[in-house]
């Protein structure tokens, strides 16, 4: 057991404990806050595993953006102070499948790696990762940027009630009459 092992054990225990609280707590807002602890412990894991850039991206995007978005969603939908009883469906099947997949994977991985030891590779700094991303993985990188744009447009279309629903619009007909005039103008100009 080296220092890295002890750190990995401690951070892993924190991550799994906080993860259990995320899926187990009866307080909606606290689930989001435990998620911060879990993701922060995982960022520490990445640092110990010499993945510097991934660790900081994890802190920036997950802890900074995703959890804040989730907390916004909790606040916008329904955020009772105190415990709520209707969060869970009664579920032995869920516990069975979850424990089965988690422990099954753990047994497989323990069987594969035993108590073997590897040396940590060179640290994954921004320079080295950027070199890889822009040399070997350029195409997936560009495709991902298109996907992010598509997700952005999709989220906007989903959350605007006045686009993408022609039948309901025709029935309501309140804001719509402005559009055909503009279209006709443009058509005339063309």
């Amino acid at each position: 057991m080296t220092g890295a092992d002890v750190l990995l054990l401690a951070l892993g225990a924190v991550a799994v404990g906080a993860g259990a609280l995320v899926v187990g707590t009866r307080h909606l807002v606290r689930a989001g806050l435990w998620l911060v602890v879990c993701l922060g412990a995982l960022a520490g894991d990445y640092l110990v595993l010499s993945a510097e850039l991934v660790a900081w991206v994890q802190v920036l995007i997950y802890v900074g953006a995703v959890v804040v978005l989730l907390l916004f969603a909790v606040m916008l939908t329904r955020a009772p102070i105190g415990p709520s009883d209707d969060l869970d469906r009664p579920g032995w099947p869920a516990a069975l499948i979850g424990a089965g997949s988690g422990l099954g994977l753990a047994v497989l991985l323990v069987d594969a790696f035993r108590w073997s030891r590897v040396e940590l590779p060179a640290a994954g700094t921004a320079e080295r990762l950027g070199e890889q991303v822009f040399r070997s993985w350029v195409l997936p990188f560009e495709v991902l940027s298109v996907l992010l744009l598509a997700a952005l447009v999709g989220a906007i279309v989903l959350s605007r009630p006045d686009i993408g629903r022609p039948a309901a619009k025709a029935a309501a007909g309140a804001v719509e009459p402005a559009r055909p005039v503009v279209a006709a103008d443009e058509g005339g100009r063309a």
Binding site: M1, D5, L8, L9, G12, V16, G19, V22, V23, L28, G32, L35, C38, L39, L42, D45, L49, S50, A51, L53, V54, V57, I61, Y62, A65, V66, L69, L70, F72, A73, L76, T77, L87, R89, G98, A99, S101, G102, L105, A106, L109, V110, W115, R117, V118, P121, G124, L129, Q132, W137, P140, L144, L147, L148, A151, G154, A155, S159, A167, A168
Partner: protein
């Protein structure tokens, strides 16, 4: 460094995520459980990057970055859907979502007629 420690951590986190997705009824909590599963996969990728000497160095970490980007896109669209669901039904319980439903305008009329 013993790679078995982060691997087992990731496996347990994935199991917790599966349990959360199946158990929770609140859609936002389901999304949180999905985040747990995605992070378990990221931990596997980063750990594999240290144990597997691949032809391209740091491929696992690059893939972890890609998964983080995918998760950000997923959470954006997912929360838009959840908020739209809340606007329509004033509830985010996934059990209450009817899977065979007519388009939105028709459903709203019918819902008012039924209740």
């Amino acid at each position: 460094m013993r790679p078995v420690i982060p691997y087992v951590t990731a496996a347990l986190l994935f199991g917790l995520g599966v349990y959360g997705v199946l158990r929770r009824r609140n859609a936002v909590l389901v999304l949180m459980a999905v985040e747990l599963m995605l992070n378990a996969v990221n931990l596997i990728l980063v750990t594999a990057d240290t144990t597997v000497r691949a032809a391209l160095p740091h491929s696992g970490q690059v893939f972890a970055l890609f998964v983080i980007v995918l998760a950000a896109a997923e959470i954006g669209v997912g929360l838009a859907i959840v908020l739209q669901l809340y606007r329509l039904r004033a509830s985010v319980t996934v059990d209450d979502v009817p899977l065979t439903e007519a388009p939105v305008g028709v459903a709203a009329d019918r819902g008012e007629g039924a209740t």
